[in-house]
């Protein structure tokens, strides 16, 4: 194991027997890596990072076992990763002084919530604010197609909770929140995990578990802050941004729970270890939610830079198109997606982003326009309704797309759709309209042939477009929230 060789972090605790943490045995092979068995030689610190993912180093965050992985309680967690010593916060006005932030900067960790903003930069900005900051772990996964945060919180909550404590220590915060969706077994499980830690005395700063509403926008930074402050989970006008004035007016560090889990491991193993996987510009591993064309869905931890084709099994389960970045992301033609790796730099050239690691391969038996229209109807209903253009525009866009997905659509719908898309972009207080339009525009490009076919009362899918019924491929929650009820 490379742990001893790469233990450079000043905050690492006594290296425990970490053999159990890295073994990929039993991990589902579809996690983007050739199931290599021969462990490579341990790289010395300072050698150039290898580009190819090393299979034996995965999974890092999730416990081993793939689909049969067992949720880790505190004892298992300490056995797998080693204990963590937490120290009292000392606020550094210079910002860069704290060892952990420097280590995170060296590791090149970026946020795993979708924006991929450098974590160390955010922490420095919060730490050098005028008041004592607040730290919030964002586990409210509003995107229906993404399950990685719930999966991580279910299987390895203590990694996330360690990361929360470490982040709070690094920025000098005393108040810590963990924000998740309300109800369900996850909430219970987290309460239990927090109780375990309280009993063991792990947490120097008590963590307040806050339940947010199950809305698409509930995980948006300013919506989260508004909810924690006791209001509705709706986005607010920026400026000020959360890292300047957030919860209770204090500078607030909002980090995705996966990012915090990576922080917990970087603190133990060091930046060089973190960089062993991934690419030079985008190091590390990430959690992905892959919806394969054969209908299976899996949350897998992969190295950044793994080919998309391998993640989605495009060889064995061919697709007609691939969605990257979730419902605010981009459709790509299958041929284009097949030659791209899962990394922001190459995807950006193709007009897409990694986002929160959601990948969906649309099988040949589905009409892409119908799927998109279904999702956009959901997105329109998920508007907070605060900004006129979004409230007025998104339902109309959804309507137009529904007509285009039906038989014999009037061509004027496409004109209206293009005009409305231009009208809502950039005119809301948050990026909901922008993201929706990005998704819609990419669908219009990739499924252009469908529109033509629909005009001729045909569809690339036999029996569509007027066939009713059937389950959608892209997951969308059932419509239950009543008007303005479920925003708290």
């Amino acid at each position: 194991m490379t742990d001893a060789a790469t233990m450079t972090s000043p905050l690492a605790a006594t290296p425990g027997g970490s053999a159990a943490g890295g073994a990929p045995a039993g991990h589902a092979p579809a996690a983007g890596a050739p199931a290599g068995h021969a462990p490579a030689a341990a790289p010395q610190p300072g050698t150039p990072q290898p580009q190819a993912p090393q299979p034996r180093a995965l999974p890092r965050l999730l416990p081993p076992g793939g689909a049969a992985a067992v949720p880790q309680d505190l004892a298992h967690h300490v056995r797998s990763h080693g204990p963590l010593r937490c120290r009292r916060a000392r606020r550094h006005r210079s910002g860069a002084g704290d060892g952990l932030i420097a280590e995170i900067a060296a590791a090149g960790l970026t946020g795993r919530g979708g924006a991929a903003f450098p974590a160390a930069t955010k922490m420095t900005a919060v730490a050098t604010g005028r008041r004592r900051p607040v730290v919030v772990g964002n586990g409210a996964e509003g995107e229906p197609a993404s399950g990685k945060d719930k999966h991580l919180l279910w299987l390895a909550p203590h990694l996330v909770l360690d990361g929360l404590q470490l982040a709070a220590e690094a920025v000098g915060a005393r108040t810590v929140y963990l924000y998740v969706h309300a109800g369900g077994r996850l909430h219970e499980r987290l309460t239990f995990a927090l109780a375990e830690r309280a009993a063991a005395g792990c947490d120097l700063r008590p963590v307040r578990l806050i339940a947010g509403p199950p809305r698409f926008l509930a995980g948006e930074e300013s919506a989260l802050v508004s909810r924690i402050d006791g209001g509705l989970a709706m986005p607010t006008f920026k400026p000020p941004r959360s890292f300047e004035r957030g919860v209770g007016g204090a500078p607030t560090l909002v980090q995705n729970v996966e990012t915090l889990a990576h922080v917990a491991l970087i603190a133990r193993r060091g930046a060089a270890w973190f960089r062993q996987l991934g690419t030079a510009e985008e190091p590390g591993s990430m959690l992905t939610t892959c919806h394969r064309a054969d209908g299976t869905t899996e949350v897998a931890e992969v190295a950044i830079g793994t080919p998309v084709a391998a993640l989605l099994g495009l060889g064995s389960a061919p697709a007609q198109a691939v969605l990257t970045g979730g419902y605010h992301g981009t459709w790509l033609r299958a041929a284009d997606a097949a030659r791209l790796p899962l990394a922001n730099a190459p995807l950006r050239e193709a007009g897409a982003t990694v986002g929160a690691g959601v990948l969906a391969a649309l099988p040949p038996g589905r009409c892409g326009l119908t799927e998109t229209a279904h999702v956009v109807r959901y997105l329109a209903a998920e508007s907070a309704g605060q900004c006129g253009p979004c409230l007025a525009g998104l339902p109309r866009i959804a309507d137009a797309l529904t007509h285009l997905a039906g038989p014999d659509p009037d061509p004027r719908w496409l004109t209206h759709l293009r005009r409305w898309s231009g009208l809502v972009t950039g005119r809301g207080a948050c990026h909901h309209p922008d993201g929706t339009v990005r998704f819609v525009r990419s669908a219009l490009t990739v499924f252009e042939h469908e529109i033509t076919l629909h005009r001729q009362r045909r569809c690339s899918v036999a029996g569509a477009p007027s066939a009713a019924g059937g389950e959608p491929f892209l997951p969308v929650p059932a419509a239950t929230p009543a008007y303005s009820q479920d925003w708290r």
């Binding site: 508004s226 402050d229 000020p240 605060q386 006129g388 009037d410 007027s466 059932a478 419509a479 303005s484």
Partner: protein, 228 residues
């Protein structure tokens, strides 16, 4: 009928400016409702409604000042200057003058916060602005009870018309707010209901042009709590 003499000039001035202030204030409240409901005055641009609302309220302040100062200066009755601001401390008709003082205080609060509203923020400004609906009835009762002028003849008609105008505007505001909120609620509900019965592959109806939308049909949802 006695004419205005040197001795009674100030008294008449106070009563006259009082009547004018009351009429102007009625106009201000009606215009305020018009601003809020995004209404227009025929032939005038939209910014004229807001402009008139602001200008007429400032003119009303001037008339109010003359009304107060002439009443204080007049020797026929004893009203101290301080009683114009602190209610119920006047020697003459303490209750009626006191009501006037209450109305004046509320008006001053509304107008001063409006002049500095960019500095104090939207929420505080709007909260105080609601006091206008309290100031008007108090001012009306003050006008009717302080002097017999308004209880007969042309001035009675004027008073009744002004009060009815304000009452009508207020009722209109309540009704229209309720109606537009209900429209927004129904639109949102139909959006969600449409998803509830969503057969995800639907046969689309024939083309119908999108209906023209007036802004108030899509009023953003009322926000319950704090918004920054």
């Amino acid at each position: 009928m006695s004419g205005i003499t040197h001795a009674t000039a100030l008294w008449y001035a106070s009563r006259a400016t009082g009547v004018v202030t009351m009429v102007l204030l009625s106009a201000v409240v009606v215009l305020g409702v018009l601003v809020n409901r995004q209404g227009r005055l025929p032939g005038l641009p939209k910014f004229a409604v807001t402009g008139l609302h602001r200008s007429i309220s400032l003119i009303a302040v001037v008339f109010l000042a003359v009304h107060v100062l002439s009443a204080v200066a007049d020797k026929f009755v004893t009203i101290q200057l301080i009683s114009a601001i602190i209610p119920f401390t006047s020697s003459y008709l303490p209750l009626q003058i006191g009501l006037g003082a209450v109305a004046l205080d509320l008006m001053l609060a509304v107008i001063i916060t409006s002049l500095v509203r960019a500095r104090i923020g939207r929420r505080l400004w709007r909260g105080v602005h609601w006091l206008a609906y309290a100031a008007y009835p108090v001012a009306l009762v003050h006008s009717i009870s302080s002097a017999k002028d308004l209880r007969s003849g042309g001035l009675l008609a004027l008073t009744v018309c002004s009060a009815l105008g304000v009452a009508a505007a207020t009722c209109y505001r309540l009704a229209d707010t309720w109606a537009s909120r209900r429209r927004a609620y129904l639109a949102a509900e139909s959006l969600i209901a449409g998803r509830r019965q969503d057969r995800y592959q639907t046969a689309a109806p024939r083309y119908s042009p999108p209906e023209p939308v007036t802004p108030r049909t899509v009023t953003p949802r009322a926000r319950e709590g704090a918004s920054r």
